[in-house]
Amino acid sequence: MTFTVHVRVVPRAGVLDPQGQAVEHALHALGFGGASKVRIGRAIEMTVSAANAGDAREQAKKMCDKLLANPVTEDYELEIEG
């Protein structure tokens, strides 16, 4: 079976995010005053073949810990689509 995995890698809370800051300013300048706490990271999308959703999540987690996220500065979240 194959699953679509969405990984969201974002700068860890407290870690400076210059990109998020710049985009937040830009949004305000464009009149989107309602936007705040903008953080920018990487979105990774992939297909994972696995026995079941749990196994797919397990694999994805391993990939994040090993490669996709930088443990020094980033946190990540996973989403598995059947």
């Binding site: 210059p18 990109q19 710049a22 985009v23 830009a26 300048a29 464009l30 920018i40």
Partner: protein
């Protein structure tokens, strides 16, 4: 009276002086316009210089294109006024929709700083009319997001109407491997709008327009502004 050239300074522009000096050496009256200004102070031509406007955060040129000065630049271009975008300036023109396509991360995924060889393919523009058709130019590139990409239709349209202004080539013959430093589609280094008054390119003529540096290959981009006579797109 001499041609007035406005060089727009965005926060993070870092080739602003290089463009200003090149335009001045070409014999124009070149001056800076601040990104927060709203008029071009009577400019005959406009240059959007290289650099990292707003740090190139989000996407190169994505934030700068909303600067207060940009409506004036768009108006100037719509009226047939010459606008040159160099490197980051090219990225801004694409983000602003003044030129088609987009400039994305280099194929090699890293910044590339090196001399490249270019062929001038379209001389009927505000910035290349002093070059011989087919002229070979050597000048530096220095960018991380220089891979020109666009829909197949757009590419076809650009090629069909000879809107590719400069193309990456080898010192002899078509580009092989590293000759195209960023993986741009069709080895495209620079393009023009249909009227030829708006031109953008990734390489840096502003770093090849000074005899003291031993390279004048880029000077034509600045002298061409002086001899440009706008003509209706139909006339092409």
């Amino acid at each position: 009276m001499t041609l007035r050239v406005a060089v727009v300074r965005f926060p993070g522009s870092n080739c602003d002086f290089d463009s200003l000096h090149s335009a001045a050496r070409a014999g124009t009256d070149a001056y800076f316009v601040w990104h927060r200004d709203t008029d071009l102070k009577g400019a005959d031509a406009v240059i959007l210089p290289g650099g990292f406007s707003y740090g190139d955060y989000l996407r190169s040129g994505a934030i700068a294109r909303f600067s207060p000065i940009m409506p004036a630049v768009q108006k100037h271009a719509a009226a047939g006024g010459p606008v040159l975008g160099i490197c980051n300036g090219f990225q801004i023109l694409c983000e602003a929709g003044m030129l088609p396509g987009a400039l994305v991360r280099n194929g090699r995924l890293s910044f590339v700083s090196r001399p490249v060889c270019l062929q001038v393919e379209q001389t009927e523009t505000a910035f290349t009319n002093t070059y011989e058709p087919g002229a070979l130019l050597r000048m530096p590139v220095a960018h991380g997001d220089g891979r020109f990409t666009a829909t197949p239709e757009t590419i076809r349209e650009l090629e069909a109407n000879r809107r590719v202004v400069v193309r990456y080539v080898a010192s002899a013959g078509p580009a092989r491997g590293e000759d195209n430093p960023n993986g741009s589609l069709n080895d495209i280094a620079g393009i023009a709008n249909a009227e030829g008054n708006v031109v953008g390119l990734m390489p840096h003529p502003d770093r090849a327009a000074d005899s003291a540096l031993g390279n004048l290959d880029g000077m034509g981009f600045f002298t061409s502004m002086l001899s440009w006579e706008p003509r209706a797109a139909a006339g092409r």
